[in-house]
Each structure stands twice: as structure tokens, then as C-alpha cells.
Symmetry: C2
Subunit: 317 residues, 2 copies
């Protein structure tokens, strides 16, 4: 028999899933359009059908469990509460739904924690003290300390996106002002670019473009072409990343920050200046001892592997 | 036999030590004047002599180990490096010196981590996720996550005193500007009071007092007598504590912040407004779920118990 765990990456638009063996190899994978399922029940039923088909591909396949990475998922309660980008409303007992439909143990966690578990089990180069940061529409973080996922009192540790980066800064969805994710996410970069474009006499390849259609990819392409304003937007974002992570380093003393998600794909244009600002801002005892790296797991795979890791980790205990 | 661990609290002025049993009771205690010993070797020899006398008090006493809480101590290397307030210079292999002289296993850690271990083993009301903050001449923190002391890559996690509280603020000994401990330590409170007293037309019970002789106790006494300027100094300090700890809460999701050290003795005059600012600044998912408490361990006992706890914890593993 080949023992497998189903890893699910639930996103606002796409849900990817895969059957993962204990070595972290994805042996089969599938996909759902999350928006087609207004209820979690319908979503899980469709998922179970898709997984059933994958399991038939090889008679040796044996499903041992399921792990899901979901925005706003609470690993302690198994409940997903008011996920901002998903069609489901209120409190959804997702862990229970998964166990009921798939007849195996289930674990759920937020996507950043799932990515951190993936990094720990299948990446991370043996490091046991690191932070995985997802720079996407928002910002999430999974913290690993001495080889253990830091979950806090209630499973909700790692809300790095809601550390205050700029006192009295931009208004955040959380109701407060100046949150890190209002600056250093893809959304934040776009807002910075809008502000720079609105300056009198601003000149950029992106001048005159419809703000609603401007994406972080457009800003990246402009910066890569040498557009000074786009480069300034990245530099501003990098400065804030450097500053906030220097504070995080003082608290956690990690060996590495791993970056993941849309904005992390900007690579050197963002992370090189961010590292430089970070080193300038860092407390001397940590100088030259902490690295910035793009996650060793590919974006889409990381989420599936990480979600599966939530359960593999438990099975192997 | 009564198995005991020697707990040592090494401070810049005083060193307290005690023989602690496995229930956290101090059965005998002693004291050294730290400043009398220009070298760590001389200090440890005097300590060994003092401990020898304590051990003779009861024939059943049996020393199993020694734990020391020392500023700038690295638990991984066993070395104390350039402690700012101690007479010893350079790198001191204190763990080795202790083992050599006392012939038992030794552990060293910084004072805040020792206090956190003390809180975990002998206080903390069963909580496994908390932060112990020492508000003394500087600020230290010991973080406990899921019942384990968070040490980071190198044993140097918890440098909360060097999170930037005020961008481009007061110059810190670490060479950077705006560190938390430049505001929320006893030293920081004094500096705030100096600034307030220097305002044109400032009126206070402390007006005209020699700044060199002004202590945080004087400011506390003035505030307790209703002095508006002294109360303003505490309010300003409280606002910064609230703001910084709200960020720490977003990262760690603790159940409790425990306060210890000289400034924590100000009690409600400091911690009540600090909690109020903290609640205002807190991310909604944590609201009404995190408490502020004065450490349940008495100041001087906490350090001895915590230091002993470093080793008891290891013996019991």
C-alpha cells in the first residue's frame, strides 16, 4: 500500500488539492473553482468526489488523512470563521465536514501556518527557527520555533500583517491604522504606486493607467524596465518590510525569513533592498546572522505540501 | 535526602542565591555584593564558599545542580558576554566555572528567561502561553509558547526592549533610536519626567529637584500624591507599553503579560492605563482575551526560583 495524505489549499478563487506521500511527493492532484460553491457543504462534497477519482488511479493508494490550509482557519477549534475572501459566511466547522465526508482524520490551519509546516518538513534546509511570510493580497505568517509551529493561546499567533508599521497610517480592514499588510502586500504596493502617481509632475510608464486595472505585476514589469517611480514604490515597500522584520527578529531571533506569495515573486527587486533595510535596522546581536530567502517550495506546491504536512506531522508523532 | 537546586540571581549590585527544592520552596538563602568581585572566577569561588555553608545547615541537603539568571547570558553557549552592569569584562564561561566549582550540572540564562521559567513552574496559574516582562533599568522579556521557553536560533529571543517603539526616537545604548526600553524602563520614565519638567511653565512636586537624584520611586510618589506632571509621565509610558505589547500580541497570541521589576511595582498607576491603551490598540481577534498581571512570584524570589527552575526543568525531563 502507498499511504497518502490529502493536502488542500483553499483560496478565494482556486482550490488545489493533491495526494501527498510521506516523503512529500505529490502523486496526484486536482482542482476546484472555489466560487462555484456557495456553501462549505457543497464544496466538501465536490472535493470528496474529486478525491475519490484520484484514489482510483492506483489500487495501492490508501488515504490516511486530510490537511487543509484555509484563510481564517482555527486549528484548535477546526472552525473557519468569516473568511474574508471565501463565499462561505459565518462559522464553518470545516474539520468536521472533511472528516465526515472523507472518513479520515482531518486538520485545518491558516494558509501561512500550513506553508510553515511544509517548509519545516520538506524545505527549510534543516533550520528549526524561521518565519514563513506570505506576501499576497494580505500578509500572513507562520512561525516555527525550535521545530514547533508557534500557535499561541488560541491558534491565532503569527498575525504579522496586523503589526502596526506606520503609526496612524493607512486604514486597514481590521479597523485600525497603519497595519503592515496595508503596505507590504500586493494591495499595499498598488496603493503606494497610486500615491506616487498622484504626485504633481509624476512621470512613469504607468502614468494614465486606470488604477482599477493596475496590478502588482504591472508595477513589477515597470520597475524591471527601470521605471523610477515603480522602483520607488518597491523601495518604499522594502523599507517597511525591513523595519518591521527587524522588530520581529528582536522578539523571535529566527535564522531565516522565507517569503512566499505573489509579491515575493518580485524577487531581488523587493527582497534585496528589504534585506538591506533590515540589516540597517537590526539589533547588533543579530547582525549578519539572519537570512532572507524565497521559499524553497514552489508557490502552489507549498500550500498543498504544507496542508498535508499538518497531518503527516501528527501521524508521525 | 532532600534534593536541591541552587538558584542564583546575579545583578549588577546584589547577587541573591537560594537552595530550592522540587516544589519551588527556598530552604536556605544567601547574598553576595557583586561589585566586590572584579573577576568571575573570584565571584564563583566566593559563591561556592557561601553555598557550602548553606548545605551544612541540614545533613539531608543534597545539591543536584545550579541555575543562574544573569544579564546577557547565553543559554546555548553558557557564556556571559560583556554584561553592561557587571564588573566582569569580555566573554565569561560562567556555566563552566559554576560546574567546576560546585561539581554539579549548571544552566545559565538571562534574567528575564529565568523569570519566565519560574512563572511557568511555580506561578502562571497553569497558563502555557505568556510573556514575562521585566521593567527595570532596562527591559527584558521571557516568552513561553505552549509551555516551552522560546529561545530562537541562538538563545537570544525575547529582546523586547529593543523593539522600536518610537521611530527616530531617543538614542539607545544599542546604537539605534527609539527602542522600547528607552521609554518604558525605569530609566525611560525618568527621561520622560525630565522632558516634562523642562517644558516652559511646568509645575510639579518634582520641579527644581536635581535630575541626577531623581528616581522612578520619586516619580511614583509624586504621581500617587496626585502630581499631574508625574501622572502624565506614567500615562505617556503606559501608552507606549500598550502600543508595543499590542504588536507583540498579534505575533505571539499570548494569554497573559506578566510584569516584574522596579517599574512594575508602580502597579495600577502604570499598568491600568497601559492595559487600557493596549485594549484600544489590540487586533479585534484578541480583544478581551489577554490579561496584564503583576508576576505572582515576588521580585527577589522570582529570580532565585526562576534560575533554579532552569535546572529543575532539565532534571525532570
Amino acid at each position: 500500500m502507498i499511504e497518502l495524505v490529502l493536502g488542500i489549499d483553499v483560496g478565494g478563487t482556486n482550490t488545489d488539492f493533491g495526494l501527498v506521500d510521506s516523503d512529500g511527493k505529490i502523486l496526484a492532484r486536482g482542482h476546484l473553482d472555489t466560487r462555484q460553491y456557495p456553501t462549505a457543504g457543497g464544496f466538501v462534497a465536490a472535493l470528496a468526489e474529486g478525491v475519490g477519482k484520484l484514489l482510483q488511479k492506483d489500487k495501492r493508494f490508501q488515504l490516511k488523512g486530510v490537511g487543509a490550509g484555509v484563510p481564517n482557519a482555527n486549528p484548535f477549534t477546526g472552525i473557519v470563521e468569516d473568511p474574508p475572501n471565501l463565499p462561505w459566511k459565518g462559522k464553518v466547522a470545516l474539520r468536521e465536514l472533511l472528516t465526515d465526508q472523507l472518513k479520515v482524520p482531518a486538520e485545518i490551519s491558516n494558509d501561512a501556518n500550513a506553508a510553515a509546516m511544509g517548509e519545516l518538513l520538506y524545505g527549510a534546509g534543516g533550520s528549526k527557527n524561521f518565519v514563513v511570510i506570505t506576501l499576497g493580497t494580505g500578509i500572513g505568517a507562520g512561525i516555527v520555533a525550535d521545530g514547533v509551529l508557534l500557535q499561541g493561546r488560541d491558534g491565532l499567533a503569527g498575525e504579522l500583517g496586523h503589526v502596526i508599521a506606520i503609526p496612524d497610517g493607512r486604514l486597514c480592514n481590521c479597523g485600525r491604522k497603519g497595519c503592515f499588510e496595508r503596505y507590504a502586500s500586493a494591495t499595499g504596493l498598488k496603493e503606494t504606486m497610486h500615491e506616487l502617481l498622484a504626485r504633481p509632475g509624476a512621470r512613469s510608464l504607468l502614468s494614465g493607467s486606470d488604477p482599477r486595472n493596475l496590478s502588482s505585476k504591472h508595477i513589477f514589469d515597470a520597475a524591471a524596465s527601470g521605471d523610477l517611480l515603480a522602483l520607488e514604490a518597491f523601495d518604499y515597500t522594502a523599507r517597511i518590510i525591513g523595519k518591521v522584520l527587524a522588530d520581529v527578529a528582536a522578539i523571535l531571533s529566527p535564522a531565516t525569513f522565507y517569503f512566499l506569495g505573489g509579491l515575493a515573486n518580485a524577487g531581488d527587486i523587493l527582497l534585496k533592498p528589504a534585506k538591506s533595510y533590515f540589516d540597517q535596522a537590526l539589533l547588533f546581536i543579530h547582525r549578519d546572522k539572519i537570512t532572507f530567502e524565497i521559499s524553497s517550495l514552489k508557490d502552489r506546491e507549498a500550500a498543498i505540501l504544507g496542508s498535508a504536512a499538518l497531518l503527516w506531522h501528527k501521524l508521525e508523532k
